[in-house]
């Protein structure tokens, strides 16, 4: 915990009391612990894994928890704990780049639309409305049907469907900031449009985006696992939690464990990240964060 503290403080928002505020909320503490634990597993997880994730132990198939296999084994005798730990990497390693790409794409789109206004703004809004006219899961599946299932394509598809959210938030922030006197001062001093957008306005729209990012991570994790569960995401034998669920689901009457563990992992992870994100949002009220410097 102590190791992660300076990193967590430095990375997101320059405000001194985030951690102590967080510690006063039970849900926030749970969130923080989960996030730190996941970060640890991400860093050293494969070292903790007792077996290689794809190693088959044919004489111990579909077994419950035991001394040699702490969480039991799947239908090929693969160690569930090892697969679960490796799966953490897949979950975060897919969700994080996806959400980050969504943020970047949405940020650029929102900055341009909000600052340019007029036709460009209207056009952007129509595009956003169109993307959001599809139910998310259905749009993702339709796109993956075209692109084919793979980890890279899952990242692309999540980024595409999450980007409109960031674009809207950015646009709204830009509209709020752009009429401020300090922007007018900049303009009268001869600053270029690029400089105004990417230096002055950008600085004022980032904080809410990072909070949105923290809140979106759990849904990106859930989305990856869901798509992989349906067979349109990460491909087996890579032990994504969704792939493990899919393996377990088709043999749910033989053994409950292959379904149970990844379900619990997903539950704890999404819940932890959600609590963490919500606590962050409550502490660093985006409206306050935006107006404080404006």
């Amino acid at each position: 915990m102590t190791q992660a503290a300076p990193a967590a403080r430095a990375s997101v928002i320059p405000r001194p009391h985030v951690l102590s505020d967080l510690a006063r909320r039970p849900a926030g503490v749970f969130g923080l612990i989960t996030v730190v634990l996941l970060a640890l597993i991400l860093a050293v997880g494969p070292l903790l894994a007792p077996y290689p994730f794809a190693k088959q132990d044919v004489s111990h198939r579909n077994e419950g928890p035991s001394a040699s296999h702490v969480l039991g084994t799947d239908h090929l005798g693969r160690d569930l704990l090892s697969r679960l730990l490796t799966g953490t990497r897949i979950a975060l390693g897919t969700a994080f780049p996806a959400v980050l790409a969504a943020l970047l794409a949405g940020l650029v789109l929102g900055l341009v639309a909000g600052y340019a206004g007029g036709r460009i703004d209207n056009l952007t809004l129509i595009i956003l409305d169109t993307v959001q006219a599809f139910p998310t899961v259905v749009l993702m599946l339709a796109l993956l049907a075209l692109l084919g299932p793979s980890t890279r394509n899952v990242i692309i598809v999540i980024a595409l469907t999450f980007a409109p959210g960031y674009a809207r938030v950015t646009r709204a922030q830009v509209l709020a900031v752009k009429e401020n006197p300090f922007i007018e001062v900049e303009r009268s001093l001869g600053a270029s449009g690029m400089r105004i957008v990417f230096v002055h306005i950008l600085a004022n729209v980032l904080a809410p985006l990072f909070i949105l990012l923290a809140m979106d991570l759990p849904s990106a994790i859930a989305t990856e696992a869901g798509l992989s569960f349906l067979g349109f995401g990460v491909r087996p034998p890579t032990p994504s939690w969704g792939v493990m669920l899919s393996d377990g689901f088709s043999r749910i009457r033989t053994s409950p464990w292959p379904v149970l563990w990844p379900s619990l992992a997903l539950m704890v992870t999404t819940l932890g990240f959600t609590f963490f994100g919500e606590a962050l949002r409550d502490i660093l009220d985006p409206k306050l964060a935006g107006s404080r410097r404006a």
Partner: protein, 317 residues
């Protein structure tokens, strides 16, 4: 109001047009040859040529788009690759199951979520309120398929209280209902949490309003003020949200239909995508998004009818 209505409807038409265009051209976005992607690498040239002709892929692209559009307007979405059934008929058979599932899910969410929210708002900062708050977030963050799998594991596999597969016997309402309980519960979780939070927040907000203070100042009883005056206004945003809920449940039904092996629109699309049956995928996605857009439109408009105070000028901000 009228100008807003026209603008909102106009936007809906534009969005529907663009999404249809997107779906129509979907096949052309595939890198490489769509026919090869569909048939696989071992297809003979004559097979490829036949499929190409069936799909109209031998025609120029603008003509293909036009064909699809006129088809949609006539209610013709093409036919299944493999069985040659009309896509509209397949959707017509699947849709009622999904609609029933979504309505049941939403009904369950209303039945549990709204009372929870009201109770929490009436007793803020008690332990019931705190537990409800945590449970709401837990339900909101729980993916529908995890909920479905755990319910299936617990109530259909370990304890065989409910059936795990299918929709049951349609002529026997009890059997049909028994098949509906677990899937609709899995689907409802998110919205139970969501509604509980929403209702709590809006009730607490309304309780701060001046007219509530006035009502108290007149000496009306707490119960009367809360249930007669506060609740009436507080429930408006929730009722308007239900349209959006319906739309999102229709989209989310795919996981639940796969897990509980239910026939339905989601399942139909899932199977079609798995077998790369593009006409079915296209039709299914089109119908789902039409319903989704329609639900959102209704949600938007219902605001006005429920609360005449709402002005529409600023809604696009």
């Amino acid at each position: 109001m009228l100008s807003y209505l026209i603008k909102r409807l106009g936007m809906t038409v534009v969005v529907v047009f663009l999404s249809t265009l997107f779906l129509a051209s979907l096949v052309h976005f595939i890198p490489g040859d769509p026919v090869r992607t569909i048939l696989g690498p071992r297809a003979t040239p004559s097979m490829s040529a036949r499929v190409r002709e069936e799909m109209g892929l031998d025609k120029p692209i603008p003509l293909q788009l036009l064909d699809f559009f006129t088809g949609v307007l006539r209610g013709d979405l093409g036919s299944d690759f493999l069985t040659h059934q009309p896509v509209t008929r397949m959707i017509g058979q699947a849709l009622p199951h999904t609609l029933i599932l979504a309505v049941a899910g939403l009904g369950l969410a209303i039945l549990l979520g709204i009372p929870l929210g009201i109770y929490s708002a009436a007793h803020p900062n008690t332990w019931v309120d705190r537990v409800t708050g945590i449970v709401s977030v837990a339900f909101i963050s729980l993916p529908a398929y995890v909920a479905g799998l755990l319910l299936l594991l617990c109530f259909a596999v370990l304890f065989r209280l409910f059936p795990a597969i299918g929709v049951g016997d349609r002529s026997d309402p009890v059997d049909y209902l028994r098949h509906l309980i677990l899937p609709s519960a899995a689907l409802a979780m998110l919205w139970i949490g969501y509604l509980a939070r929403l209702v709590r927040a809006s009730v607490l907000e309304v309780l701060n309003a001046n007219y509530i203070r006035t009502a108290f100042a007149y000496g009306l009883s707490e119960r009367l003020v809360f249930y007669k005056y506060a609740l009436k206004n507080a429930i408006i945003p929730t009722v308007a949200m239900l349209g959006i809920g319906m739309g999102s449940l229709l989209g989310g039904a795919i996981f639940v239909e796969v897990i509980f092996t239910r026939p339905g629109l989601g399942r139909l699309m899932f199977d079609a995508i798995s077998s790369r049956n593009y006409p079915v995928v296209r039709g299914g996605v089109l119908v789902t998004s039409l319903l989704f857009v329609l639900a959102n439109l209704l949600a938007d408009l219902s605001y006005h009818f429920l609360d005449p105070r709402i002005q529409y000028q600023e809604t696009r901000q």
